[in-house]
Amino acid sequence: MIDLSVRIGNLTLANPVMPASGTFAEGLDKVMDFNRLGAFVTKTITRELRAGNPLPRVVERAGGLINSIGIPSKGVLYFLEHTLPYYAGYKPPLVVSISAPTAEDFAQLAAEMSVPGVDVIEANISCPNIEEDGKAFAMRASSTESVVRLLRAATPLPLWVKLTPNTGDLPDVARAAELAGADALVVANTILAMAIDLETFKPCLGNIMGGLSGPAIKPIVLRQVYQCARTVKIPVIGCGGISTTEDAIEYMLAGAAAVQVGTATFVQPAAMTTIIDGLVRFCERRDIARVADLIGAVLNEESDEVELAWVAPPQ
Protein backbone atom coordinates (compact mmCIF):
# COMPACT_ATOMS: atom_id res chain seq x y z
CA MET A 1 0.00 0.00 0.00
CA ILE A 2 1.38 3.37 -1.04
CA ASP A 3 1.03 6.10 1.58
CA LEU A 4 -0.50 8.98 -0.33
CA SER A 5 -0.80 11.40 2.56
CA VAL A 6 1.06 14.70 2.71
CA ARG A 7 1.36 17.26 5.45
CA ILE A 8 0.74 20.95 4.87
CA GLY A 9 1.75 22.55 8.15
CA ASN A 10 -0.40 20.96 10.84
CA LEU A 11 -2.91 19.65 8.36
CA THR A 12 -2.61 16.15 6.92
CA LEU A 13 -4.21 15.61 3.53
CA ALA A 14 -5.23 12.12 2.45
CA ASN A 15 -3.48 12.78 -0.84
CA PRO A 16 -1.77 15.75 -2.48
CA VAL A 17 -4.39 16.45 -5.16
CA MET A 18 -6.97 19.23 -4.85
CA PRO A 19 -8.74 21.65 -7.18
CA ALA A 20 -7.50 25.16 -8.00
CA SER A 21 -9.71 28.01 -6.88
CA GLY A 22 -12.25 29.08 -9.48
CA THR A 23 -12.18 25.83 -11.41
CA PHE A 24 -14.22 23.77 -9.00
CA ALA A 25 -17.83 23.70 -7.90
CA GLU A 26 -20.46 21.35 -6.64
CA GLY A 27 -21.36 20.17 -10.12
CA LEU A 28 -18.22 18.10 -10.28
CA ASP A 29 -19.66 15.64 -7.79
CA LYS A 30 -21.54 14.20 -10.74
CA VAL A 31 -18.20 13.17 -12.22
CA MET A 32 -16.14 12.11 -9.23
CA ASP A 33 -16.48 10.94 -5.66
CA PHE A 34 -15.63 14.08 -3.73
CA ASN A 35 -14.42 12.03 -0.78
CA ARG A 36 -11.41 10.99 -2.88
CA LEU A 37 -9.97 14.52 -3.08
CA GLY A 38 -7.10 15.75 -0.93
CA ALA A 39 -9.05 18.93 -0.17
CA PHE A 40 -11.76 21.23 -1.50
CA VAL A 41 -10.82 24.73 -2.61
CA THR A 42 -13.63 27.21 -3.22
CA LYS A 43 -13.84 29.90 -5.86
CA THR A 44 -12.49 33.14 -4.40
CA ILE A 45 -15.09 34.85 -2.24
CA THR A 46 -15.32 38.57 -1.67
CA ARG A 47 -17.28 40.51 0.85
CA GLU A 48 -19.28 42.61 -1.51
CA LEU A 49 -21.60 41.20 -4.16
CA ARG A 50 -19.87 41.17 -7.51
CA ALA A 51 -21.04 40.37 -11.02
CA GLY A 52 -17.70 39.41 -12.53
CA ASN A 53 -16.28 40.73 -15.78
CA PRO A 54 -17.94 41.51 -19.11
CA LEU A 55 -18.27 38.72 -21.70
CA PRO A 56 -16.57 37.01 -23.48
CA ARG A 57 -14.76 35.69 -20.43
CA VAL A 58 -12.61 32.95 -21.91
CA VAL A 59 -10.65 32.37 -25.09
CA GLU A 60 -8.55 29.34 -25.93
CA ARG A 61 -4.99 29.50 -27.19
CA ALA A 62 -2.26 26.94 -27.92
CA GLY A 63 -2.15 24.62 -24.91
CA GLY A 64 -4.23 26.84 -22.72
CA LEU A 65 -6.99 29.17 -21.84
CA ILE A 66 -7.14 32.88 -21.11
CA ASN A 67 -9.88 33.82 -18.67
CA SER A 68 -11.18 37.08 -17.35
CA ILE A 69 -14.01 35.69 -15.26
CA GLY A 70 -13.26 38.09 -12.48
CA ILE A 71 -14.77 37.22 -9.16
CA PRO A 72 -18.52 36.99 -9.37
CA SER A 73 -19.49 36.62 -5.76
CA LYS A 74 -22.67 36.27 -3.79
CA GLY A 75 -20.93 37.50 -0.67
CA VAL A 76 -20.24 36.07 2.76
CA LEU A 77 -23.76 35.37 3.94
CA TYR A 78 -24.60 33.23 0.96
CA PHE A 79 -21.41 31.28 1.52
CA LEU A 80 -22.14 30.65 5.18
CA GLU A 81 -25.74 29.67 4.55
CA HIS A 82 -25.38 27.56 1.44
CA THR A 83 -21.85 26.58 0.47
CA LEU A 84 -20.53 25.70 3.91
CA PRO A 85 -23.33 23.24 4.79
CA TYR A 86 -22.92 21.60 1.41
CA TYR A 87 -19.28 20.70 2.04
CA ALA A 88 -19.93 19.68 5.63
CA GLY A 89 -21.14 16.32 4.37
CA TYR A 90 -17.76 15.37 2.92
CA LYS A 91 -14.50 14.16 4.41
CA PRO A 92 -11.83 16.35 2.70
CA PRO A 93 -10.91 19.59 4.43
CA LEU A 94 -12.41 22.79 3.06
CA VAL A 95 -10.06 25.50 1.86
CA VAL A 96 -11.82 28.82 1.42
CA SER A 97 -10.27 31.25 -1.02
CA ILE A 98 -10.84 34.90 -0.20
CA SER A 99 -9.89 38.24 -1.68
CA ALA A 100 -10.37 41.91 -0.92
CA PRO A 101 -9.26 45.24 -2.29
CA THR A 102 -7.43 46.45 0.84
CA ALA A 103 -5.36 44.75 3.52
CA GLU A 104 -7.85 45.71 6.24
CA ASP A 105 -10.82 44.37 4.32
CA PHE A 106 -8.84 41.24 3.63
CA ALA A 107 -8.15 40.64 7.31
CA GLN A 108 -11.74 41.31 8.26
CA LEU A 109 -12.98 38.84 5.68
CA ALA A 110 -10.52 36.23 6.95
CA ALA A 111 -11.91 36.71 10.43
CA GLU A 112 -15.49 36.37 9.25
CA MET A 113 -14.61 33.21 7.37
CA SER A 114 -12.90 31.56 10.32
CA VAL A 115 -15.91 29.52 11.32
CA PRO A 116 -16.37 25.83 12.06
CA GLY A 117 -16.37 23.87 8.82
CA VAL A 118 -13.67 25.99 7.25
CA ASP A 119 -10.28 24.27 7.59
CA VAL A 120 -7.95 26.62 5.75
CA ILE A 121 -8.00 30.21 4.53
CA GLU A 122 -6.39 30.61 1.11
CA ALA A 123 -5.65 34.29 0.59
CA ASN A 124 -5.76 35.06 -3.13
CA ILE A 125 -3.43 38.05 -3.05
CA SER A 126 -2.55 37.47 -6.68
CA CYS A 127 -5.67 38.28 -8.56
CA PRO A 128 -4.50 40.77 -11.16
CA ASN A 129 -5.59 44.34 -10.72
CA ILE A 130 -7.70 43.87 -7.66
CA GLU A 131 -5.67 46.23 -5.48
CA GLU A 132 -6.43 49.92 -5.78
CA ASP A 133 -3.49 50.83 -8.02
CA GLY A 134 -4.18 47.89 -10.27
CA LYS A 135 -1.29 45.81 -8.96
CA ALA A 136 -1.92 42.71 -6.90
CA PHE A 137 -0.50 42.58 -3.37
CA ALA A 138 1.71 39.69 -4.44
CA MET A 139 3.56 41.77 -7.00
CA ARG A 140 5.86 43.14 -4.28
CA ALA A 141 7.41 41.74 -1.14
CA SER A 142 6.42 44.80 0.89
CA SER A 143 2.69 44.72 0.09
CA THR A 144 2.71 40.96 0.51
CA GLU A 145 4.21 41.22 3.94
CA SER A 146 1.75 43.81 5.17
CA VAL A 147 -1.38 42.04 3.99
CA VAL A 148 -0.22 38.62 5.22
CA ARG A 149 0.67 40.07 8.62
CA LEU A 150 -2.87 41.40 9.04
CA LEU A 151 -4.35 38.16 7.78
CA ARG A 152 -2.21 36.17 10.17
CA ALA A 153 -3.49 38.19 13.09
CA ALA A 154 -7.08 37.88 11.93
CA THR A 155 -7.45 34.11 11.74
CA PRO A 156 -6.45 31.15 13.89
CA LEU A 157 -6.88 28.85 10.87
CA PRO A 158 -4.04 27.62 8.70
CA LEU A 159 -3.27 30.41 6.23
CA TRP A 160 -2.27 29.59 2.66
CA VAL A 161 -1.16 32.50 0.52
CA LYS A 162 -1.63 32.31 -3.22
CA LEU A 163 1.06 34.14 -5.17
CA THR A 164 1.10 35.64 -8.62
CA PRO A 165 3.45 34.41 -11.36
CA ASN A 166 3.52 37.91 -12.84
CA THR A 167 6.14 39.32 -10.53
CA GLY A 168 9.86 39.30 -11.17
CA ASP A 169 10.48 39.11 -7.43
CA LEU A 170 8.86 35.78 -6.64
CA PRO A 171 11.46 34.44 -4.19
CA ASP A 172 11.38 37.76 -2.30
CA VAL A 173 7.61 37.73 -2.21
CA ALA A 174 7.62 34.11 -1.02
CA ARG A 175 10.04 34.98 1.76
CA ALA A 176 7.91 37.95 2.79
CA ALA A 177 4.79 35.79 3.02
CA GLU A 178 6.65 33.21 5.11
CA LEU A 179 8.04 35.88 7.41
CA ALA A 180 4.62 37.40 7.90
CA GLY A 181 3.21 34.07 9.03
CA ALA A 182 1.83 32.14 6.07
CA ASP A 183 1.53 28.38 6.69
CA ALA A 184 1.90 27.49 3.03
CA LEU A 185 2.23 29.12 -0.36
CA VAL A 186 0.17 28.35 -3.43
CA VAL A 187 2.29 28.95 -6.54
CA ALA A 188 0.70 30.31 -8.63
CA ASN A 189 -2.27 32.11 -10.11
CA THR A 190 -2.69 32.77 -13.87
CA ILE A 191 -0.22 34.67 -16.05
CA LEU A 192 -1.52 37.93 -17.46
CA ALA A 193 -2.13 37.51 -21.17
CA MET A 194 -4.11 38.77 -24.15
CA ALA A 195 -5.62 37.69 -27.44
CA ILE A 196 -7.00 39.65 -30.37
CA ASP A 197 -9.65 38.50 -32.85
CA LEU A 198 -8.41 38.88 -36.42
CA GLU A 199 -11.91 39.13 -37.86
CA THR A 200 -13.07 42.03 -35.73
CA PHE A 201 -9.70 43.45 -34.57
CA LYS A 202 -11.18 43.46 -31.06
CA PRO A 203 -9.69 41.87 -27.96
CA CYS A 204 -11.07 38.34 -27.54
CA LEU A 205 -11.98 39.06 -23.92
CA GLY A 206 -14.48 41.60 -22.72
CA ASN A 207 -11.91 42.67 -20.15
CA ILE A 208 -9.16 42.99 -22.83
CA MET A 209 -6.58 41.13 -20.72
CA GLY A 210 -6.98 37.92 -18.79
CA GLY A 211 -5.03 35.17 -17.11
CA LEU A 212 -3.40 32.32 -19.01
CA SER A 213 -3.68 28.84 -17.52
CA GLY A 214 -3.22 25.28 -18.73
CA PRO A 215 -0.31 23.20 -20.07
CA ALA A 216 1.26 26.22 -21.78
CA ILE A 217 2.28 27.75 -18.45
CA LYS A 218 3.50 24.57 -16.77
CA PRO A 219 7.25 25.01 -17.39
CA ILE A 220 7.12 28.59 -16.12
CA VAL A 221 5.22 27.89 -12.91
CA LEU A 222 7.24 24.73 -12.30
CA ARG A 223 10.35 26.92 -12.29
CA GLN A 224 8.65 29.28 -9.85
CA VAL A 225 7.71 26.43 -7.52
CA TYR A 226 11.31 25.23 -7.63
CA GLN A 227 12.58 28.73 -6.80
CA CYS A 228 10.09 29.20 -3.97
CA ALA A 229 10.65 25.76 -2.47
CA ARG A 230 14.37 26.50 -2.31
CA THR A 231 13.66 29.84 -0.66
CA VAL A 232 11.14 29.09 2.06
CA LYS A 233 10.72 26.37 4.68
CA ILE A 234 6.91 26.31 4.63
CA PRO A 235 5.23 23.95 2.15
CA VAL A 236 4.66 25.11 -1.42
CA ILE A 237 1.55 23.93 -3.25
CA GLY A 238 2.10 23.78 -7.00
CA CYS A 239 -0.57 25.06 -9.39
CA GLY A 240 -0.19 25.72 -13.09
CA GLY A 241 -0.96 23.51 -16.07
CA ILE A 242 -1.15 20.25 -14.18
CA SER A 243 -3.14 17.84 -16.36
CA THR A 244 -1.54 14.43 -15.88
CA THR A 245 0.06 12.30 -13.21
CA GLU A 246 3.42 13.11 -14.77
CA ASP A 247 2.78 16.83 -14.37
CA ALA A 248 1.89 16.36 -10.71
CA ILE A 249 5.05 14.34 -10.09
CA GLU A 250 7.20 16.89 -11.89
CA TYR A 251 5.84 19.56 -9.53
CA MET A 252 6.42 17.41 -6.46
CA LEU A 253 9.99 16.68 -7.55
CA ALA A 254 10.51 20.43 -7.98
CA GLY A 255 9.45 20.90 -4.36
CA ALA A 256 5.66 21.02 -4.23
CA ALA A 257 4.12 19.35 -1.17
CA ALA A 258 0.74 19.16 -2.92
CA VAL A 259 -0.80 20.21 -6.22
CA GLN A 260 -3.86 22.06 -7.41
CA VAL A 261 -5.52 21.14 -10.70
CA GLY A 262 -7.41 23.85 -12.54
CA THR A 263 -7.95 24.12 -16.27
CA ALA A 264 -7.33 20.41 -16.84
CA THR A 265 -10.68 19.68 -15.22
CA PHE A 266 -12.42 21.65 -17.99
CA VAL A 267 -10.97 19.27 -20.57
CA GLN A 268 -11.03 16.03 -18.59
CA PRO A 269 -13.52 16.42 -15.76
CA ALA A 270 -12.09 13.42 -13.89
CA ALA A 271 -8.52 14.73 -14.14
CA MET A 272 -8.01 14.91 -10.36
CA THR A 273 -9.02 11.34 -9.56
CA THR A 274 -7.13 10.11 -12.62
CA ILE A 275 -4.02 11.81 -11.25
CA ILE A 276 -4.52 10.26 -7.82
CA ASP A 277 -4.80 6.79 -9.40
CA GLY A 278 -1.70 7.52 -11.46
CA LEU A 279 0.31 8.56 -8.41
CA VAL A 280 -0.35 5.18 -6.83
CA ARG A 281 0.76 3.35 -9.97
CA PHE A 282 3.89 5.50 -10.36
CA CYS A 283 4.97 4.94 -6.76
CA GLU A 284 4.32 1.22 -7.07
CA ARG A 285 6.34 0.94 -10.26
CA ARG A 286 9.23 2.92 -8.83
CA ASP A 287 9.10 1.32 -5.40
CA ILE A 288 8.38 4.57 -3.61
CA ALA A 289 6.59 3.85 -0.34
CA ARG A 290 5.25 7.32 0.36
CA VAL A 291 4.22 9.88 -2.20
CA ALA A 292 5.68 12.47 0.19
CA ASP A 293 9.12 11.08 -0.68
CA LEU A 294 8.75 12.74 -4.08
CA ILE A 295 8.66 16.22 -2.57
CA GLY A 296 11.76 18.12 -3.63
CA ALA A 297 13.43 14.92 -4.83
CA VAL A 298 14.84 16.45 -8.01
CA LEU A 299 18.46 15.35 -8.37
CA ASN A 300 20.27 18.50 -8.84
CA GLU A 301 23.98 18.18 -8.48
CA GLU A 302 24.81 21.67 -9.62
CA SER A 303 22.10 23.36 -7.62
CA ASP A 304 24.42 25.92 -6.09
CA GLU A 305 26.02 26.88 -9.36
CA VAL A 306 23.03 27.72 -11.48
CA GLU A 307 23.78 31.34 -11.99
CA LEU A 308 27.46 30.77 -12.25
CA ALA A 309 27.01 28.01 -14.78
CA TRP A 310 25.08 30.37 -16.97
CA VAL A 311 27.64 33.13 -16.93
CA ALA A 312 30.76 31.01 -17.07
CA PRO A 313 29.95 27.43 -17.95
CA PRO A 314 32.47 24.70 -17.16
CA GLN A 315 35.08 24.76 -19.89
Binding site: A25, G27, D29, K30, P56, E60, I69, V267
Partner: protein, 285 residues
Protein backbone atom coordinates in the same frame (compact mmCIF):
# COMPACT_ATOMS: atom_id res chain seq x y z
CA UNK B 1 -27.61 42.40 -10.53
CA UNK B 2 -27.67 39.08 -8.73
CA UNK B 3 -25.70 35.99 -9.48
CA UNK B 4 -27.39 32.72 -9.11
CA UNK B 5 -25.20 29.97 -7.78
CA UNK B 6 -27.55 27.03 -7.52
CA UNK B 7 -25.76 24.77 -5.14
CA UNK B 8 -27.05 21.35 -5.81
CA UNK B 9 -28.99 20.69 -8.93
CA UNK B 10 -29.01 16.98 -8.27
CA UNK B 11 -29.37 17.16 -4.54
CA UNK B 12 -27.16 14.24 -3.67
CA UNK B 13 -27.50 12.87 -0.13
CA UNK B 14 -23.90 12.88 0.96
CA UNK B 15 -24.27 10.74 4.01
CA UNK B 16 -26.26 8.01 2.33
CA UNK B 17 -24.85 4.53 2.57
CA UNK B 18 -24.99 3.91 -1.19
CA UNK B 19 -21.60 4.10 -2.88
CA UNK B 20 -21.04 7.04 -5.15
CA UNK B 21 -21.78 6.62 -8.85
CA UNK B 22 -21.22 9.14 -11.62
CA UNK B 23 -24.12 10.84 -13.35
CA UNK B 24 -21.84 12.66 -15.80
CA UNK B 25 -18.95 10.89 -17.50
CA UNK B 26 -16.12 11.75 -19.84
CA UNK B 27 -15.73 8.65 -21.98
CA UNK B 28 -14.28 7.43 -25.23
CA UNK B 29 -17.22 6.67 -27.51
CA UNK B 30 -17.07 4.79 -30.79
CA UNK B 31 -18.29 6.50 -33.92
CA UNK B 32 -21.05 4.54 -35.61
CA UNK B 33 -21.62 7.04 -38.39
CA UNK B 34 -20.90 10.65 -39.21
CA UNK B 35 -22.74 11.60 -42.37
CA UNK B 36 -23.52 14.79 -44.23
CA UNK B 37 -27.14 15.86 -43.82
CA UNK B 38 -26.99 18.84 -46.12
CA UNK B 39 -24.36 21.30 -47.28
CA UNK B 40 -23.77 22.61 -43.77
CA UNK B 41 -24.73 19.93 -41.25
CA UNK B 42 -23.48 16.52 -40.23
CA UNK B 43 -25.12 13.83 -38.19
CA UNK B 44 -22.89 11.99 -35.72
CA UNK B 45 -23.97 8.75 -34.03
CA UNK B 46 -21.76 7.20 -31.37
CA UNK B 47 -21.85 4.09 -29.19
CA UNK B 48 -21.47 4.97 -25.51
CA UNK B 49 -22.04 3.82 -21.96
CA UNK B 50 -25.27 3.80 -19.98
CA UNK B 51 -24.77 7.16 -18.26
CA UNK B 52 -24.34 9.02 -21.55
CA UNK B 53 -27.15 7.11 -23.24
CA UNK B 54 -29.56 8.17 -20.49
CA UNK B 55 -29.40 11.79 -21.69
CA UNK B 56 -32.71 13.68 -21.78
CA UNK B 57 -34.09 16.12 -24.39
CA UNK B 58 -32.52 19.56 -23.98
CA UNK B 59 -29.36 18.26 -22.32
CA UNK B 60 -26.01 18.53 -24.07
CA UNK B 61 -22.58 16.97 -24.27
CA UNK B 62 -19.11 18.46 -24.45
CA UNK B 63 -17.14 16.88 -27.29
CA UNK B 64 -13.37 16.82 -27.43
CA UNK B 65 -12.80 17.57 -31.08
CA UNK B 66 -9.98 15.84 -32.98
CA UNK B 67 -7.18 18.05 -34.22
CA UNK B 68 -7.36 18.81 -37.89
CA UNK B 69 -4.84 20.45 -40.21
CA UNK B 70 -2.68 21.99 -37.54
CA UNK B 71 -5.54 23.43 -35.50
CA UNK B 72 -5.73 22.09 -31.96
CA UNK B 73 -8.93 23.11 -30.23
CA UNK B 74 -8.03 23.17 -26.54
CA UNK B 75 -11.49 23.17 -25.03
CA UNK B 76 -14.38 20.80 -25.59
CA UNK B 77 -17.28 21.97 -27.76
CA UNK B 78 -20.90 21.89 -26.55
CA UNK B 79 -23.40 19.98 -28.69
CA UNK B 80 -27.06 19.41 -27.92
CA UNK B 81 -28.39 15.94 -27.64
CA UNK B 82 -30.06 15.11 -30.96
CA UNK B 83 -31.13 11.63 -29.97
CA UNK B 84 -30.41 8.98 -27.34
CA UNK B 85 -31.09 5.29 -27.28
CA UNK B 86 -30.50 3.83 -23.82
CA UNK B 87 -31.20 0.33 -25.07
CA UNK B 88 -28.61 0.30 -27.85
CA UNK B 89 -26.26 2.60 -25.92
CA UNK B 90 -26.16 5.36 -28.49
CA UNK B 91 -26.31 9.14 -28.60
CA UNK B 92 -26.63 11.36 -31.65
CA UNK B 93 -25.60 14.89 -32.52
CA UNK B 94 -26.41 17.19 -35.38
CA UNK B 95 -23.74 19.77 -35.94
CA UNK B 96 -22.79 22.57 -38.24
CA UNK B 97 -19.21 22.99 -39.37
CA UNK B 98 -18.33 26.37 -37.89
CA UNK B 99 -14.61 26.40 -37.08
CA UNK B 100 -11.62 24.33 -36.03
CA UNK B 101 -13.48 22.10 -33.58
CA UNK B 102 -16.37 21.10 -35.80
CA UNK B 103 -13.98 20.76 -38.75
CA UNK B 104 -12.12 18.23 -36.61
CA UNK B 105 -15.38 16.44 -35.80
CA UNK B 106 -16.10 16.18 -39.50
CA UNK B 107 -12.96 14.07 -39.99
CA UNK B 108 -14.36 11.26 -37.83
CA UNK B 109 -15.36 8.05 -39.55
CA UNK B 110 -17.12 4.89 -38.41
CA UNK B 111 -14.97 2.99 -35.94
CA UNK B 112 -13.01 6.07 -34.82
CA UNK B 113 -13.00 7.18 -31.21
CA UNK B 114 -14.35 10.44 -29.87
CA UNK B 115 -14.17 11.68 -26.30
CA UNK B 116 -17.62 12.79 -25.13
CA UNK B 117 -18.63 14.23 -21.78
CA UNK B 118 -22.20 14.27 -20.57
CA UNK B 119 -25.08 14.32 -20.16
CA UNK B 120 -24.90 17.94 -19.07
CA UNK B 121 -27.28 20.63 -17.96
CA UNK B 122 -30.98 20.78 -17.25
CA UNK B 123 -33.18 19.68 -20.15
CA UNK B 124 -36.79 20.32 -21.10
CA UNK B 125 -39.62 19.43 -18.76
CA UNK B 126 -42.66 17.97 -20.48
CA UNK B 127 -45.86 18.01 -18.49
CA UNK B 128 -47.67 14.77 -19.51
CA UNK B 129 -51.02 16.51 -19.12
CA UNK B 130 -50.29 18.77 -22.11
CA UNK B 131 -52.23 17.72 -25.15
CA UNK B 132 -50.64 19.91 -27.79
CA UNK B 133 -47.40 21.82 -27.82
CA UNK B 134 -45.49 23.89 -30.37
CA UNK B 135 -41.77 23.54 -31.06
CA UNK B 136 -40.13 26.38 -32.96
CA UNK B 137 -36.52 26.32 -33.99
CA UNK B 138 -34.05 27.71 -36.40
CA UNK B 139 -30.71 26.37 -37.61
CA UNK B 140 -28.98 24.12 -35.14
CA UNK B 141 -31.79 24.93 -32.72
CA UNK B 142 -33.75 22.18 -34.38
CA UNK B 143 -31.16 19.67 -33.26
CA UNK B 144 -31.92 20.64 -29.71
CA UNK B 145 -35.70 20.33 -30.13
CA UNK B 146 -35.62 17.06 -32.06
CA UNK B 147 -35.60 14.65 -29.10
CA UNK B 148 -38.71 16.43 -27.76
CA UNK B 149 -40.88 14.93 -30.48
CA UNK B 150 -40.19 11.41 -29.29
CA UNK B 151 -40.62 12.28 -25.61
CA UNK B 152 -43.87 14.10 -26.32
CA UNK B 153 -45.23 11.14 -28.26
CA UNK B 154 -44.45 8.86 -25.33
CA UNK B 155 -46.59 11.18 -23.20
CA UNK B 156 -49.36 11.25 -25.75
CA UNK B 157 -48.72 14.94 -26.40
CA UNK B 158 -49.08 16.16 -30.00
CA UNK B 159 -46.44 18.43 -31.46
CA UNK B 160 -46.59 21.08 -34.12
CA UNK B 161 -43.06 21.92 -35.22
CA UNK B 162 -42.22 25.15 -36.98
CA UNK B 163 -38.89 24.97 -38.78
CA UNK B 164 -37.10 28.10 -39.85
CA UNK B 165 -34.12 28.07 -42.21
CA UNK B 166 -32.43 30.21 -44.79
CA UNK B 167 -33.32 27.99 -47.70
CA UNK B 168 -35.71 25.00 -48.07
CA UNK B 169 -32.83 22.58 -48.61
CA UNK B 170 -31.41 23.60 -45.24
CA UNK B 171 -34.54 22.62 -43.33
CA UNK B 172 -33.42 19.85 -41.03
CA UNK B 173 -34.82 16.92 -39.11
CA UNK B 174 -38.30 17.01 -40.60
CA UNK B 175 -38.28 13.23 -40.64
CA UNK B 176 -37.46 13.01 -36.97
CA UNK B 177 -40.60 14.99 -36.21
CA UNK B 178 -42.96 13.54 -38.78
CA UNK B 179 -41.73 10.07 -37.80
CA UNK B 180 -43.11 10.77 -34.34
CA UNK B 181 -46.40 11.97 -35.73
CA UNK B 182 -45.70 15.68 -35.43
CA UNK B 183 -47.09 18.28 -37.82
CA UNK B 184 -44.29 20.19 -39.49
CA UNK B 185 -44.46 23.70 -40.91
CA UNK B 186 -41.33 24.86 -42.71
CA UNK B 187 -40.63 28.55 -43.20
CA UNK B 188 -37.61 29.91 -45.06
CA UNK B 189 -35.92 33.22 -45.72
CA UNK B 190 -35.62 32.51 -49.44
CA UNK B 191 -39.37 31.96 -49.72
CA UNK B 192 -40.06 34.99 -47.53
CA UNK B 193 -42.05 32.93 -45.02
CA UNK B 194 -39.75 33.13 -42.03
CA UNK B 195 -40.50 36.70 -40.93
CA UNK B 196 -41.81 37.24 -37.39
CA UNK B 197 -45.09 38.61 -38.63
CA UNK B 198 -45.83 35.48 -40.63
CA UNK B 199 -44.83 33.21 -37.75
CA UNK B 200 -47.00 35.19 -35.38
CA UNK B 201 -49.93 34.64 -37.71
CA UNK B 202 -49.27 30.87 -37.74
CA UNK B 203 -48.99 30.81 -33.96
CA UNK B 204 -52.16 32.80 -33.40
CA UNK B 205 -53.90 30.25 -35.60
CA UNK B 206 -52.57 27.36 -33.52
CA UNK B 207 -53.50 29.09 -30.28
CA UNK B 208 -57.02 29.68 -31.57
CA UNK B 209 -57.29 25.97 -32.32
CA UNK B 210 -55.99 25.15 -28.80
CA UNK B 211 -52.99 23.46 -30.40
CA UNK B 212 -50.44 25.54 -28.49
CA UNK B 213 -50.55 24.80 -24.77
CA UNK B 214 -46.81 25.36 -24.40
CA UNK B 215 -43.89 26.79 -26.37
CA UNK B 216 -40.58 24.99 -26.81
CA UNK B 217 -38.01 27.01 -28.66
CA UNK B 218 -34.36 27.40 -29.49
CA UNK B 219 -32.01 29.18 -31.84
CA UNK B 220 -33.57 32.55 -32.68
CA UNK B 221 -34.05 35.57 -30.48
CA UNK B 222 -36.38 37.10 -33.04
CA UNK B 223 -38.70 34.11 -32.73
CA UNK B 224 -38.25 34.09 -28.96
CA UNK B 225 -39.60 37.65 -28.77
CA UNK B 226 -42.68 36.73 -30.79
CA UNK B 227 -43.39 33.79 -28.50
CA UNK B 228 -42.82 35.80 -25.34
CA UNK B 229 -45.37 38.37 -26.56
CA UNK B 230 -47.97 35.71 -27.32
CA UNK B 231 -47.21 33.79 -24.13
CA UNK B 232 -47.87 36.93 -22.11
CA UNK B 233 -51.04 37.72 -24.03
CA UNK B 234 -52.49 34.21 -23.74
CA UNK B 235 -50.73 33.05 -20.55
CA UNK B 236 -49.04 30.13 -22.26
CA UNK B 237 -45.99 28.63 -20.55
CA UNK B 238 -42.78 28.06 -22.49
CA UNK B 239 -39.23 26.86 -22.34
CA UNK B 240 -36.24 28.01 -24.30
CA UNK B 241 -32.87 26.33 -24.84
CA UNK B 242 -30.12 28.93 -24.84
CA UNK B 243 -26.53 29.00 -25.99
CA UNK B 244 -23.46 30.71 -24.69
CA UNK B 245 -19.74 30.20 -25.21
CA UNK B 246 -18.62 27.52 -22.76
CA UNK B 247 -15.42 26.27 -21.20
CA UNK B 248 -16.16 23.63 -18.54
CA UNK B 249 -19.81 22.84 -19.36
CA UNK B 250 -20.54 21.77 -15.80
CA UNK B 251 -20.87 24.93 -13.76
CA UNK B 252 -17.29 25.45 -12.62
CA UNK B 253 -15.98 28.44 -14.53
CA UNK B 254 -18.77 31.04 -14.85
CA UNK B 255 -17.84 31.93 -18.40
CA UNK B 256 -21.25 31.01 -19.85
CA UNK B 257 -23.39 33.41 -17.83
CA UNK B 258 -26.42 35.20 -19.25
CA UNK B 259 -28.80 37.64 -17.68
CA UNK B 260 -32.36 36.61 -16.90
CA UNK B 261 -35.33 38.62 -15.75
CA UNK B 262 -36.66 36.91 -12.65
CA UNK B 263 -39.67 38.79 -11.39
CA UNK B 264 -38.23 42.11 -12.45
CA UNK B 265 -34.77 41.48 -11.00
CA UNK B 266 -31.84 40.86 -13.36
CA UNK B 267 -30.20 37.60 -12.41
CA UNK B 268 -27.02 36.17 -13.89
CA UNK B 269 -27.11 32.41 -14.49
CA UNK B 270 -24.77 29.80 -15.92
CA UNK B 271 -26.24 28.44 -19.14
CA UNK B 272 -24.42 25.12 -18.74
CA UNK B 273 -25.64 24.50 -15.22
CA UNK B 274 -28.88 26.38 -14.63
CA UNK B 275 -29.84 25.66 -18.25
CA UNK B 276 -29.41 25.33 -21.13
CA UNK B 277 -33.21 25.14 -20.92
CA UNK B 278 -34.83 28.07 -19.13
CA UNK B 279 -38.29 29.41 -18.49
CA UNK B 280 -39.08 31.28 -21.67
CA UNK B 281 -40.44 34.31 -19.87
CA UNK B 282 -37.25 34.84 -17.90
CA UNK B 283 -34.98 34.78 -20.94
CA UNK B 284 -33.64 38.05 -22.29
CA UNK B 285 -33.49 37.57 -26.07
Amino acid sequence: MTIEQTISQAGRATDSAAPWTPSVVGEIAEVISNDCVNAEYRHLVVRCGAVSASAQPGQFFQLLCPHSDGAQPFLRRPMSLYGADPVRGEVEFLYKIAGAGTRGLATLGAGDSVDIMGPLGAGFTLDPSLRHIVAIGRGAGLATLAPLAKAAKANGTRVTAIFSARRPELVLSVDLFTGQGADVIAVTDSEGTSGPAHIERILRGLIAENRCQAFYTCGSSRLLRVQQRLAREFEIPGQVAMEQQMACGIGLCFCCVRDFNVGGEIVSRRVCWDGPVFDMMEALP
